[in-house]
Symmetry: C2
Subunit: 253 residues, 2 copies
């Protein structure tokens, strides 16, 4: 579904000491941001915070008031450091207990009751009012509380949960992108690029330098919701680069 | 330098639409978090925000009041979308202009004055009162305003800048870590692990499941400032795992 009359915004909240210590590199922000973009949902902020109850509760409440959607990853496993579900319940001022459908799914999954340990039963706890988010990878579900979606942190599970619930999102106008890659350095292309930006106020023009095969290369990314405007801006940019004796290659992105 | 009497905190602020759109995967958070940890500086929060002036100014002011250090990456290049330096000046309520030493370095670097374009001269602008941060990769410097350090976004440059300025930081007690890896699933190890956490309140115990060579594996990470306590806790954990017929392997981290 899409609502083309407005910009739909989101925040991604990564909960976990392991990201803040540098032990683990976050892998969920990029995936979720790209997938949300396809649905016309613009990620306006990402935060990484520690497994500290007061911080999680306050941040969830700040973000859910500020953005149309909030996606949290991390902290819904079976161990003592998995406090996200309890924090979400606190943020919404509701209780938390075992969700019958979650218990049923996990009972089937583990088969032998001895394997459905008390620790694993903790993963069936959902804040009151929460709607389950299916987990196609390891069964224990995530959940939705109003505009807040809570996923596991393991990338394969977070991705599976997102795919399982994305039909619930109402996006805005999809943001389209065109990328023009050039060998001209930023310091040379900057002036005409700024002039182009001034002429195309409705197109967001970004400049991203990198090294490719040992040679400096700049990706100029044009983003916007009007395909025709993007095409015209990209064509103008390519002409400008060629007039400056630069190479220009266009990529659909 | 280190001040072992207190916890020294930091925030990392990643500025850039390209991370929020999912186009680019952030590579600076993990590097900075790990390097800061070695210096006894604990990263307590990371944020990714767009290139929007009001957002950058407000976020810088919020974070610099809340944490001992703030590190920003991104938005100090030569193009129109590079607004970070101006935003930092606004956040501190000061003006911004060309820094003579930055101009001198860049003049030497570019040699031919025609190559030191107006766009590149923008990179010599520093908020008033700012102290340069050397850029060993591409010359155009970062800068320090009080407890806020502003780096480029390109990972090689951000890393070079961090190494060039890290002697200015006063860290707290370094956080040490021990990792015990086991083949026991989280749902089985969770209970004794929680009991261990209760007995070792001064040790932060995290549990991180993953797949290794197609087999589920859990890394149990013990973090704290007291090496002896960490060693005892890790030894106890290994005994517990072996009593449960699990495999336990210890890694220095």
């Amino acid at each position: 579904m899409s609502d083309t009359s407005k910009t739909v915004t989101a925040a991604i909240l990564v909960i976990g000491n392991e990201i803040l210590s540098g032990r683990t590199k976050d892998a969920n922000i990029q995936y979720l941001a790209a997938e949300l973009g396809k649905l016309g949902v613009r990620v306006m902020e990402c935060r990484v915070i520690p497994d500290i109850e007061a911080t999680v509760v306050a941040t969830v409440n700040e973000l859910r008031a500020k953005f149309d959607y909030v996606f949290t990853t991390g902290g819904i496993g079976p161990t003592h450091d998995d406090i996200t579900a309890d924090c979400i319940a606190k943020a919404f001022g509701v209780g938390i207990s075992e969700h019958p459908e979650a218990v049923a799914r996990m009972t089937r999954h583990y088969g032998d009751p001895a394997l459905f340990t008390p620790a694993r039963r903790r993963m069936a706890r959902v804040p009151h009012g929460g709607i389950l988010v299916d987990n196609p990878v390891s069964v224990a579900p995530g959940f939705q509380m109003e505009n807040v979606f809570t996923f596991a942190g393991i990338p394969a599970v977070a991705q599976g949960m997102f795919q399982a619930m994305k039909h619930r999102l109402v996006g805005g106008e999809p943001v389209l992108a065109r990328t023009v890659r050039t060998n001209l350095p930023e310091g040379i292309i900057a002036e005409p690029l700024g002039a182009l930006q001034t002429r195309y106020e409705d197109v967001e023009i970004g400049s991203y330098p990198a090294f490719r095969n040992g040679r400096p290369s700049v990706s100029l990314v044009l983003r916007g919701t009007d395909a025709a405007r993007l095409a015209t801006a990209a064509a103008e940019l390519i002409v400008t680069i060629k007039e400056m004796n630069g190479e220009a290659e266009e990529f659909a992105t």
